[in-house]
Amino acid sequence: MYLYDEFDQRFVDQRVEQFRDQVRRRLEGELSEDEFKPLRLMNGLYLQLHAYMLRVAIPYGTLSAPQLRQLALIARKYDRGYGHFTTRQNIQFNWIKLEDAPDALADLARVQMHALQTSGNCIRNTTADQYAGVAADEIEDPRIYCEMIRQWSSIHPEFSFLPRKFKIAVTGAPNDRAAVRVHDIGLRMHRNGEGETGFEVMVGGGLGRTPMIAKTIRKFLPKQHLLSYLEAILRVYNLAGRRDNLYKARIKILVHEIGAAEMARRVEAEWAEIRDTAVDLPAAEVARIADFFAGPAYAPQPAFVPEFEAARRSGADFARWLRTNTAAHKQPGHAIVNLSLKPAGKPPGDVSAAQMEAIADLAERYSLGEIRVAHEQNLVLPHVALRDLHALWQALDALGLATANIGLISDIIACPGMDYCALATARSIPIAQRISERFHDLARAHDIGGLTINISGCINACGHHHVGHIGLLGVDKAGEEFYQLTLGGRADQDAAVGAIIGPAFSSDTVVDAVETVVDTYLALRRQGERFLDTYRRVGQTPFKEKLYAAH
């Protein structure tokens, strides 16, 4: 993974001192809240329902063991002993004091971490997929480009006060695990006819109040021009994005209003002026960054490991965990291991300080010291030898991190909702807990098969409910919490926004409603059909009928 040099380190250290001074001036009354708020947001500090929340950046979801241990320290020292992994691969601490924030940021800077630009109307954490660098289907490690984008976008003097937040995602594989099509800019790596690697550039995707799938403005961008092309897009957006209405200020609205063709024309015109200036990195710098992602020195591992095969055959629980929680690794004799942060009845994505420390130890022992964060709010140990899988599984099981439910119905994605968030209209975590308890039986969950449930506590859609196979949106009806159901969303390379199925369900009835949807699918499915396949085949009607039959 990328390691800071003296310049990167000095940058975060200076940023901490700058913010320390800004906090001092705020506490002394020299800065008003209006003047201070954008500065605090650009250091990842939100004011939430109960306290300040600090959103720490985990660039493209990659963490080292020492970094994870430091996050545990932050949780213990400044917070209430736990953290929450988010749908953008970051981590949130819910109880940070403003007066402590500079010290917390200084502790983070010690391990090359920061909370820079995780909020505010600026370029946010650029995300990749959690299997980057180790997935069998990858063309090239997208994190090289994510790191280039991270540096280019860090306190970019021109783009620090955009009309609205800006999110970029990169996929290096045809199977898009980074949901690039619902980002402001989505970049899909691929090869052209000449075998060169470049990006399909898509603009104007996003969820929130007006979910939209990004439009392609350039089919193939040679990879060496990535930064200058992004600069062109951002400049067009900075100048033309709407500033009159907070809810119409994202780039997706601009693309929607002027059309993809006009967007492409403006971007290409601007790019023509800057493509040969110094925005793009020289080859030496690209090579320097790429070296960090060249892949660890794997100890040679046999592809066939007798003990592993025996364990797989003898243990039904182990075998089941292997099926859902491990994925194919490009290096023979290895596997990618998913740590489920969704045990039945627990808040999705939350991890205690003690668990973080234990995971860091396991990462060092079994995963060459590296951990990944998935936007589905789970963790990944990306470099595990087959012969270590059984021991690792046992250790994870003891920690409550081995629920064999990755990608299944109880692997729920939920925003913090009204239990924590000042923007929410309804709670989401209790619903997630109740659904995961209803479907806690793993045999049943395995039988249901791949099915994602996403829950958002308000229209801002931080739970990404629009792209859940089943989506729940919490709404307020006369002071009561109600939940609107959507069906058929998906976040992958065939991204689609789910359709509202009918009137919202009360808090009391929504879990039953979800079960009704599942039972309807099970009754109708053909051999080998997942939920999405059946839904696409039969449409909404059978589900509507069952859901609203009694009323």
Binding site: R26, L27, E28, G29, E33, L47, Q48, L49, H50, A51, Y52, R80, G81, Y82, W95, I96, K97, L98, E99, D100, K346, P347, D350, S352, A353, A354, Q355, A358, L399, G400, M418, D419, Y420, A424, R427, I429, P430, Q433, G479, E480, E481
Partner: protein, 101 residues
């Protein structure tokens, strides 16, 4: 059935640590909703908001606003779910306490 007079109290977040606070008597801000001073009408509410505005100018609190409450046997109870959660904390058990670790 006659509705009881709508009471309002002022709430904000304390600047230095973000804690939820309620405006009590003598311009004192407390983390306990039971200490809040209630306004019985709009004039009283406005007067309290003026006190709150001074606290903002003095860098004590951030973003004060009025909320509707009812007085019952247990004290002051906010009308909205959101403010009840704000007063009592997250409705889910604190995660760290809930895990075995």
């Amino acid at each position: 059935m006659a509705k009881p007079a709508a009471l309002q109290i002022i709430t904000a977040n304390r600047l230095r640590d973000g804690a939820v606070v309620y405006l009590g008597p003598d311009t004192h801000w407390s983390t306990r909703i039971s200490q809040a001073v209630a306004a019985a009408d709009e004039d009283q509410a406005r007067a309290l908001l003026a006190v709150a505005a001074r606290a903002v100018a003095e860098a004590q609190v951030v973003a004060p606003y009025a909320i509707a409450v009812a007085r019952d046997a247990s004290g002051l109870r906010p009308a909205s779910y959101r403010e009840r959660i704000r007063a009592a904390g997250p409705s889910i058990a604190a995660f760290a306490a809930a895990t075995a670790a």
